[in-house]
């Protein structure tokens, strides 16, 4: 008799997630083609996307601010293996983008340039889905693309590395 060495037991569980008030505001902004953040009343830093709290001060962030779709690549990585969640074929480049007016980099896909042309300090802008396809999801921003602007100086973003 042969030994049983493994059994397959599929597990399926369905969950209903709660975005929370702050994220909901952000997502509704996405559906309008706007990027909404929140400012901490204590340290005045602007969080995008907002989570309803300043993690550093532990207080609610209530003051809503709209930030620009333009920003600076602070750092990046070139992904050379297929992604489970993005339909882009490798290699592609993901970057931390510090949006103008925000104090926290935003994780983003960079397109419309060679994957190895991305560099620290590069100026980029959000490319939105067509108006008819805007929805309350992160995917309303399809990706970021290079701006025809000079690179930002290292000193302007080194505090965000």
């Amino acid at each position: 008799m042969s030994a049983v060495t493994s059994i397959l037991t599929p597990i399926r569980l369905d969950y209903t997630y709660t975005a929370g008030r702050a994220t909901q505001r952000f997502l509704l902004g996405m559906a309008e083609g706007r990027i909404l953040g929140q400012r901490c009343p204590q340290c005045t830093k602007v969080y995008v996307p907002p989570r309803g709290a300043c993690p550093q001060c532990g207080v609610p962030t209530t003051d809503e601010v709209e930030v620009s779709g333009k920003g600076t690549v602070t750092t990046f990585c070139i992904v050379r293996i297929p992604s489970d969640v993005l339909s882009v074929p490798p290699p592609f480049t993901c970057a931390h983008v510090l949006l103008d007016g925000a104090d926290l980099p935003f994780f983003a896909l960079i397109q419309e340039c060679e994957f190895d042309a991305v560099r620290m300090g590069m100026r980029v802008e959000a490319v939105w889905a067509p108006p008819a396809e805007l929805a309350p999801t992160f995917e309303s921003i399809r990706y970021f693309r290079p701006l025809d602007e000079p690179d930002a100086a290292y000193e302007t973003y080194k505090e965000h590395l």
């Binding site: 994220t23 340290c43 750092t75 990585c77 489970d84 993901c94 992160f138």
Partner: protein, 385 residues
């Protein structure tokens, strides 16, 4: 003054990509039986069990300590389950040590494990929450930009990561429990391995392993009756900071620096590079060695890479880092931190075998987790503190 605490038994499994020869309880028992044999104790000697692992979703069992209570002889005893992300193996050992420090128990069994082959860890890490931003490609995609930021800040030579990987992989060949061993590993082999998340190459990353680690921690009175020389706990520390906030330094996080400072104060360390004989550090991607050298105060900021490049971190260097081969060679996630702590104990007990650092008196065990935000560390020594 808290009670003294000593490590009197250490055990770990052979780590491998799939341990299909053992069940979950079987895997844990392999480590526990070895720790008991080392300590010369049995089940009836154990007062309490403290268990740790990374997310339950890796194996698909919720709060698995409930099920594992039987295999760990915990019935009728106190049992605690710790989960602090990647640092969990270290923080589990610290929670266990505190039960002894507080004078509550004489002997505590602590065990940590991961059996990633029983579930789908990559899936568990990238569960798609509808309104959250997706992490593009697991941990590598998360940490690669931080490594690039370190390279820019420090001006480190681009092959620093290759040299770390070469050293760790050579050390791993001296460790019978290693998961990954490349007998003919060379600089060229690592340099030529594929880029996964540029700047991280395939051979500069950690594997996913099945494995477990166990330790028996004891009070001073119980340590006197142990079978072999103990490793004394000279200090423990834990620190956490939020995942992200404006201006957060993720390359050299303050939580790590503060954690090390508290640890050194407790253990009476004034110059870690001089006062410590070796360290087992949580390095899941090669570049984290130089980054943590700075964070831990072994090197000034921006100069951690010099220790790697000069060979200081090699087994025969002045500050051997990861003599066991480290996380790059064996990575049962929940256990990886505890293996660091346990390997540090083996070093000061003189029981590390082929990867023994000659005459090691004091050693550091280090673990971190989350987005470089949770830290757990201890210092163990041959001498009673």
């Amino acid at each position: 003054m808290a009670e003294r605490c000593a490590v009197i038994g250490v055990g770990q499994t052979k780590h491998d990509v799939k341990r299909t020869d053992v069940s979950l309880p079987g895997l844990l028992r392999e480590a526990v039986d070895r720790a008991f044999a080392d300590a010369g104790v049995g089940w009836r000697d154990i007062d309490a069990v403290v268990i740790g692992k990374a997310p339950d979703m890796f194996e698909g069992t919720m709060m698995p300590e409930l099920y594992l209570a039987d295999a760990l002889g915990a019935a009728g005893k106190p049992m605690l389950r710790v989960h602090t992300a990647g640092s969990v193996g270290g923080s589990t050992a610290i929670v266990a040590a505190q039960l002894v420090h507080a004078g509550i128990h004489e002997r505590v069994l602590t065990v940590a494990y991961e059996k990633q082959s029983e579930g789908n860890a990559m899936w568990a890490l990238t569960v798609r929450i509808p309104f959250q931003q997706a992490i593009v490609a697991g941990a590598g995609g998360y940490f690669a930009p931080l490594i690039r930021a370190y390279m820019r800040r420090s001006g480190a030579p681009e092959d620093t990561g290759i040299r770390v990987a070469l050293k760790d992989r050579q050390n791993a060949a001296k460790n019978p429990y290693s998961h990954l061993v490349f007998p003919d590993v060379s600089y060229e082999m690592i340099a030529g391995s594929p880029m996964l998340w540029d700047p991280i190459r395939y051979m500069e990353t950690c594997p996913s392993s099945d494995g477990a680690c166990a330790m028996v921690l004891a009070s001073e009175a119980a340590a006197k009756r142990a079978r072999q020389a103990p490793a004394w706990v000279h200090g423990t520390a834990m620190r956490s900071e939020p995942t992200m906030f404006a201006g957060r330094d993720q390359v050299n996080p303050r939580a790590g620096r503060d954690c090390a400072a508290e640890l050194y104060r407790k253990a009476g360390i004034t110059d870690p590079r001089r006062d410590l004989d070796c360290a087992e550090i949580y390095v899941p991607f090669s570049w984290f060695e130089p980054m943590w050298m700075e964070n831990l105060g072994f090197a000034p900021e921006g100069e951690g890479w010099k220790m790697t490049q000069e060979g200081a971190t090699a087994l025969d260097g002045d500050m051997p880092i990861n003599p066991s081969g480290g996380v790059l060679s064996s990575n049962p996630i929940g256990a990886s931190g505890m293996i660091r702590f346990a390997e540090a104990a083996l070093q000061v007990r003189g029981l590390a075998g082929e990867h023994q650092v000659p005459g090691a008196e004091r050693a550091l065990g280090h673990a971190y987790g989350g987005g470089s935000q949770f830290f757990a560390m201890w210092i163990v020594g041959r001498a009673r503190p």
